[in-house]
Structures are given as structure tokens and as C-alpha cells.
Amino acid sequence: MYNVKVYVTYKKSILDPQGEAIKTALHRMEHQDVMQVTVGKYFEMQIKDNGQNIDEQVNKMCDELLANVNMETYRYEITEAAKVEE
């Protein structure tokens, strides 16, 4: 069993309207020292070991579903888990 965490964010050059709106809101709340905010998506997955390369599988999931590579990038972390956490 693997625990996989995937982080998807917009590519650098892509507008992030949410990030901007949140930054402005934080400034209004007196957190003026926040210089930049980027908003992304975060996925936690549990994947059963099926004998195939886990990296390849996760890459495929990201490329085909979790991210749109035309505008987003992703990174992930894979840790091995002995068994399913409840």
C-alpha cells in the first residue's frame, strides 16, 4: 500500500485569480507581510501495490486527470504504508 500526496498548481505564467484575491484579503486583515499567495489542489490517495511501477502510475494519473498539463504543474510524494490506515 502506498500513501501518495499530489500537489497541483498553475504554471508560473498562468494567472491565479484566487491567489490574488486571498492575498488582498490577508492584507486587509493586517497580514501585510504576505508577499505572495498561490492556490493549488491537494490530493491524498491510497493506492494498493499491484506490482507495477508506482511512480509511473501516479505520473499517468496526474497527466491524464489530476492536472491539465497545458496550464498546471504537479509534484507528488509517495510513501510506503504497511497497510491501509483507518
Binding site: 498553475y10 504554471k11 505564467s13 498562468i14 494567472l15 491539465n68 497545458n70 496550464m71
Partner: protein, 734 residues
């Protein structure tokens, strides 16, 4: 990061070819300038002379369209067309295609398509009051198409919903030809006080050019060029960054611009949105239109990213930006106004007398070209045209095979193109602004004009299958069906906008389709006195050498002079009499039932008579004005059987009908027909006025759909039929 080639490197390495300029065009630029163009200048010309901006291939064909009329205040050439509707008010509308961006990133592609068309409308001074769409996708049998549909709908919905503009209608069809080249067209309708009418012109030496709205990033660079070249899987990696929409920023920008227009018109000289080819096309067009030159200081352009070069700044298609020309001396007022809406307003240049278009960057003159060369002197091409091999001249008529009429009927109800579209339109806020009188209960959507007794009827229509079989007749039908929809709701057609979605003009067969379709549309527009007041051309819709069906979307708006004339398609009362207006023939080629039974369409398209169509429509208008009919529904895809069923589903009332037609003919798609219902009290009067145009069918009532045809019987429980029709699309989208 882009590197700028020198003028000689551009010539030697033929960079201009990569950017879509031909050898001749490159030569013409040299003649215009009297020297080699530099990197930035080459980019400006490539963008401005692309099909998307210059219409170089479609212009001669667009000339066929009637564009003027007593009611027309503004024809093509501005952000949107304008039609007078009396009482000092006018309706403003236009449609736009975003097919390629939608194919790449459906959510953002569709969203920014909506954002763009909304800017066109408020740039004219109008408040947007409605949105519509026209969508054509591949068959719903693969995961990618389902994803495309879902995300396109989400993108359209989220943008319009957030802007507070109701999306009141549209159309959606499914056919494998659109598999990897979907069609996404959006139309926006606005309401204008005639006194507020604006133009996108920058006149008056010394007046200020203002950039307002979002900052410029590297989004969609080469978008205009990209939209004008063919799409094939190999180019995947060349795609430039997708544009992301920010409907919230656009809402703020819209409110600011409308306040400027309504309350400070004395200082506003011109306004235009930054659409395709962003800053260059908006600014150059505004200057050229007014007969002036312009200078722009690129260092002042608000930037989202570091290190952007002039080429990128000029061609970026960042969204939610507008360009203004403001009277000299009133800069403060504008800046202050936009600040109140958290929107940026920055002076980036001024109007000049010398008719040159000049860009400065880091204190250097980086582009210096005659403004008219850029805007008005793009070459115009008449391409070779050849009738496609698949267009048949054989009169052979295909006939449906019907073993069990009721089963065939239920099967056709579930075809995604016929099935109820609530799984789509319930994801759009169709009610905001509280003026929406009818969406799915009438052939055209109906939106009232607050404070008057009037309403607007609006519809989008295309029937690509007919156009594929015969582009000219298909073009006539597209306009006619739109008019029929308007008339059935009690409106008088005013004008149309269009999106011409076709294949490559360099392919003689695709060019033939474009040529013939526009000819047919023009003929129909002349017949109905509905000039073309705006529109958009999207060519090169093909993937891997396969063009889509010719898909001219017609967006039509009509005026309902009196709220009492609003007519919906639902049956009103048990016992009402049902008539069909118009004759039914054996018109199956290109029909829904042909597609269902043969999986493709073929044969020669049926005949069509514009004059007869017009007479039928005039009759319906007369019947409505005399209050002789209680419901009206035009017959389209699926024919009489489907038309009756739709009126039944919308009302929850069954019907019992008897006809001389065969079971197969119930699905014939003969044009120029309506189903109407009549109160028994008015039967004599109705029959007198309708004469032999009307054929009595039967009565409304009960909980069964029952059609006794000459050779077979259709009978089904209303609830069961309705469930099939209502659930089919939702189920197939899962």
C-alpha cells in the same frame, strides 16, 4: 524566454512563415515599411493579418450578407451590432467562437469565450442581459468527450453565473465529427440606452490611451495565430499558455466601464475590449478607425510577469482588459473611478496625428509602422472552391425502417441531440436579473425589458447535418429555423449574429462549403429582413485533416412588442385542439432518424422554399396577434412525433392524434412546420385564418401519447416517455 531575431535573421531564417505570414505577405510588409520589419513589427503584422483579425479569407464571402436596415444602428465592424427597439432603447448582440481553446482546456477555454463576448457587449455601452451558447461535441461514448462536455458546461456556467448574466438558452448536438474539434460558441445580448452608444475609436491628437483591467501576462501568446492554423496532435507541445478567466475581475471591470460610459461620457472618446491579438489589435484598430496614429509606452503597461518583451506585451491575450481613449486632462477622474472598483487604469499612450503606430520600450522606438497598413491593408484572398465529392445530386430518398413505431419513438427520444438538455442548462443561472420569462418552455428564450411591455426573444441555431449535405440550403435553413423559433414565441425577428465554424479555407472543398453556406444564409437574411449585424469566423476547424461539418451558428434576436403575445410550446388545457401548420413530405436525408438507424447521414438534402417558409411564419404571427393559438412549437430534429412529445412533456398533458402520415413520416424533418393548439371556442375563426395551411391532428389530454398513423400506432405512457427523454442525457454524461 523568447529571443529576438534581427530583421535579417528573420528574413534568412524565414521566421515569418512559422508565424503564418506567406512570402507575398512578408514582401508586402517590406513594401509598406520600405525596409525589413524587425521582430516586434513582424509579430504585429502576423497577428493583425491572421485570419482571426483580418478575415482575409472570409471577407469576400461576408460581403454577401445584408447588413443594413431601418432598425440597424450599428452593423458589423464594431465590438457588436446594435438594433433599435424603440423608446430610446436598443439591443446589442454578438457571438464568438472559442473552439480551439476549448479543445485544449475546456473549462478555461469556454469560460474565456464567455468573458470575451461579454466585453464586446459592454464595450458598446450596453448592459449584458443574457447569454446563450451553441455546442457541438463528439459522441458521448468515450471518457474524453464526457470530460470535455462537463468542463465546457462548467466553464460557461461559472463565468456567466459569477458575472450575474443569465444564460437563457442554447443548443447542443453530438456527432463523432466533432470528437477532437468541439465547437463552443457563445452569444451575449445587451440592452442599451441609445444615448450611451459607444465606438471603438481613438480620435483627437493628445488624447490619452488608457489600459484598464487585469495585468498582462504571457497568456495565449500567438492565440490569434493559433486559432487560425490547423489543429493536429503533433502540435500539442507548441501550444502556448492557456488563458485563465477571472469572472470576478471582469464583473468589477464591467461595472467600472458602465459607470464611466453612463456618467462620464463627456470625457470618454472611445472604448474597445482587448480580444484576439490583445493590445495590438485593440489599439491599432481604435487609431485606424478614427484616422489617427498612436504611440504607446510599453514600460507603463501593467505586467504580471517579469522580463516580458514587446512582442509578448503586444500579443498577449490576457483576459479582462479594455482599452479606452480619454480626453486629455481628465486622467485623474478615470483613475479614481476604476480604483473604486479595485480595477487598474493606467495611461499607456496617446493619440498622434501622423498615422503611424509607434511603440516605445525602455526609451527605444521598437516598432514604427503605418497604422493603416497594419489594420486595413491585410491581403484578401478568394480561394479556389470545389464541390465536395460527398455532396450528392441523386434525388434518392432514404426511408426509415420501422418495425415497432413506439419502440422507434422511444429510442429517438433518448438520442442525446433530442433528449432533454436540463443536465446542461440547469448548471447555468438562467434567472439572475429577474427578467427571464421562459427558457425551455419556448422555442426561443424570452427575456422581458423591465419597465416596458416588451420582451426579447433569442435563439441560437445551426443544423450542421443539413449543411453537410447541402451547404447552401442548409445555410438557408439555419437562418429560417432561428426565425421560426422567434416567431413561435410571439416575436418579430430583428437581426442575426453568426459564428462561421468551418474547415480550412485553403482546402477547396471546405472553402466551397463556406461560400455556399454564406450564400444560403444571405438569401434567408434578405427574405426575413434580418441583417447580419455582427459575427465571428472560425476556420481551420479540423483535426488530423478531417474538417468538422460546416457549422454556421446563427444567433437571432426578435422583439415581442407586447408581453401578452408571448407564446410557449407547452399544451395549455385538456380538450384543446392540435393542428400542424405546413405539409409533411418524405424528408429523411440528414435527419435524426437517418443518423440513428444508419449511424451516418447521406443522400441529397430535401428541397426548401424560403418564400413558403416566410408565409408560414407570417401566418403564425397573425394567429398569435389575434390570440387564436394557445401554444406554438416549431418542428425540427425528430419531426412531428418529437414536436408533439415536447409540448406534452412541458405541460404534463398527453394527447391523442390521428394522421394520414405513415409511421415513418412522423420523423420526417420537412421544414416550415409548426404545431399549434387552439381553444375549441376559436376553432372556426382559426380554421378560417389558417386555411389549408393547417391540418387537424387531435386533442390534448390524458396521460398517454397516442398517434394513430396510416400504417401503425404509437402509444406510450406519458410518464414513461418523459422519463426516457429526461434521463437520457444525464445518464450518458455519467
Amino acid at each position: 524566454m523568447m529571443t529576438e531575431l534581427t530583421p535579417t535573421e528573420i528574413r534568412d531564417q524565414k521566421l515569418y512563415l512559422q508565424w503564418g505570414l506567406s512570402e507575398d505577405e512578408y514582401q508586402q510588409i517590406q513594401n509598406d515599411l520600405g525596409r525589413l520589419p524587425n521582430f516586434t513589427e513582424t509579430g504585429l503584422f502576423a497577428a493583425m493579418w491572421s485570419e482571426h483579425c483580418s478575415y482575409k479569407n472570409s471577407k469576400p464571402l461576408l460581403k454577401q450578407f445584408p447588413t443594413t436596415g431601418d432598425q440597424i444602428l450599428q452593423g458589423p465592424g464594431e465590438g457588436a451590432g446594435i438594433v433599435d427597439i424603440g423608446d430610446g432603447q436598443a439591443v446589442v448582440f454578438k457571438a464568438e467562437s472559442h473552439n480551439h481553446p476549448t479543445a485544449v482546456e475546456p473549462y478555461q477555454g469556454a469560460a474565456t469565450g464567455v468573458g470575451g463576448i461579454v466585453r464586446d457587449i459592454f464595450s458598446m455601452g450596453a448592459r449584458p442581459i443574457a447569454l446563450m451558447d451553441s455546442l457541438h461535441f463528439g459522441e458521448l461514448n468515450d471518457a474524453h468527450t464526457k470530460y470535455l462536455v462537463d468542463q465546457t458546461i462548467a466553464g460557461i456556467g461559472d463565468y456567466g453565473n459569477c458575472m450575474g448574466i443569465p444564460t437563457v438558452g442554447g443548443e447542443t448536438t453530438f456527432d463523432s465529427i466533432y470528437q477532437s474539434n468541439p465547437v463552443m460558441n457563445a452569444m451575449c445580448v445587451g440592452l442599451l440606452d441609445v444615448n450611451d452608444q459607444q465606438k471603438g475609436a481613438a480620435a483627437g491628437v493628445g488624447n490619452s490611451i488608457y489600459y484598464v483591467g487585469a495585468k498582462t501576462g504571457r497568456d495565449g501568446i500567438q492565440g490569434a495565430i493559433f486559432a487560425s492554423t490547423e489543429f493536429s496532435d503533433e502540435h500539442e507541445t507548441q501550444r502556448s499558455a492557456v488563458q485563465v478567466g477571472d469572472p470576478f475581475a471582469e464583473k468589477q471591470l464591467m461595472e467600472a466601464c458602465l459607470e464611466l460610459i453612463h456618467e462620464h461620457s463627456d470625457i470618454l472618446v472611445g472604448i474597445q475590449d482587448m480580444g484576439a491579438a490583445g493590445l495590438v489589435s485593440s489599439s491599432a484598430e481604435m487609431g485606424a478607425k478614427a484616422g489617427y496614429g498612436m504611440e504607446i509606452n510599453l514600460d507603463t503597461v501593467p505586467k504580471r510577469e517579469n522580463g516580458m518583451i514587446p512582442y509578448e506585451l503586444m500579443l498577449s491575450e490576457s483576459q479582462e482588459r479594455m482599452l479606452l481613449c480619454i480626453k486629455q486632462g481628465h486622467e485623474r477622474e478615470v483613475e479614481e473611478l476604476f480604483r473604486r472598483y479595485d480595477s487598474e487604469a493606467v495611461q499607456i499612450g496617446k493619440v498622434t496625428a501622423n498615422k503611424q503606430y509607434q511603440l516605445f520600450f525602455k526609451n527605444q522606438l521598437v516598432a514604427d509602422v503605418p497604422i493603416h497598413a497594419l489594420v486595413d491593408e491585410a491581403p484578401v484572398y478568394r480561394q479556389p472552391s470545389q464541390k465536395p465529392a460527398h455532396i450528392s445530386n441523386k434525388a434518392g430518398q432514404w426511408y426509415p425502417q420501422i418495425d415497432n413505431l413506439t419502440n422507434t419513438f422511444e429510442q429517438i427520444l433518448k438520442q442525446p441531440t433530442i433528449a432533454n438538455k436540463s443536465a446542461i442548462y440547469e448548471r447555468y443561472d438562467s434567472q439572475v436579473q429577474t427578467n427571464t420569462i421562459s427558457t425551455d418552455r419556448s422555442d426561443a428564450a424570452v427575456v422581458r425589458i423591465r419597465g416596458t411591455k416588451k420582451a426579447l426573444a433569442m435563439t441560437t441555431d445551426a443544423n450542421p447535418r443539413y449543411l453537410y449535405l447541402d451547404p447552401q440550403i442548409g445555410g438557408q435553413i439555419a437562418v429560417s429555423e432561428a426565425a421560426r423559433n422567434i416567431v413561435a414565441t410571439g416575436g418579430i425577428p430583428l437581426a442575426i449574429t453568426d459564428c462561421l465554424n468551418f474547415g480550412s479555407p485553403e482546402d477547396p472543398e471546405s472553402y466551397y462549403e463556406l461560400e455556399q453556406a454564406t450564400k444560403g444564409m444571405a438569401e434567408a437574411c434578405a427574405t426575413f429582413d434580418t441583417p447580419v449585424i455582427s459575427g465571428n469566423v472560425s476556420l481551420y476547424n479540423e483535426s488530423n485533416q478531417q474538417p468538422i461539418y460546416p457549422t454556421p451558428m446563427v444567433g437571432m434576436v426578435g422583439l415581442i412588442e407586447n408581453l401578452d403575445w408571448i407564446t410557449t410550446l407547452d399544451f395549455k388545457k385538456d380538450g384543446d385542439l392540435i393542428y400542424v401548420l405546413g405539409k409533411t413530405g418524405d424528408d429523411f436525408n440528414g435527419s435524426e432518424i437517418q443518423k440513428m438507424q444508419d449511424t451516418d447521414i447521406h443522400g441529397q438534402l430535401f428541397d426548401f422554399d424560403l418564400e413558403y417558409e416566410k408565409k408560414q411564419q407570417q401566418l403564425v404571427t397573425k394567429l398569435i396577434h389575434q390570440r387564436l393559438i394557445k401554444s406554438a412549437h416549431d418542428l425540427a430534429e425528430g419531426g412531428l412525433a418529437i414536436g408533439l412529445a415536447e409540448s406534452s412533456f412541458a405541460s404534463g398533458r398527453g394527447f391523442s392524434v390521428k394522421t394520414q402520415l405513415t409511421g415513418g413520416q412522423l420523423f420526417s424533418e420537412t421544414q416550415s412546420r409548426f404545431i399549434v393548439t387552439v381553444d375549441p371556442e376559436n376553432q372556426t375563426q382559426f380554421e378560417k385564418m389558417a386555411g389549408n395551411a393547417a391540418t387537424y391532428l387531435g386533442v390534448v389530454g390524458g396521460q398517454q401519447l397516442r398517434i394513430q398513423a396510416s400504417d401503425s400506432l404509437l402509444q406510450i405512457d406519458l410518464k414513461q416517455a418523459q422519463a426516457s427523454w429526461k434521463g437520457a442525457l444525464e445518464w450518458q454524461l455519467k
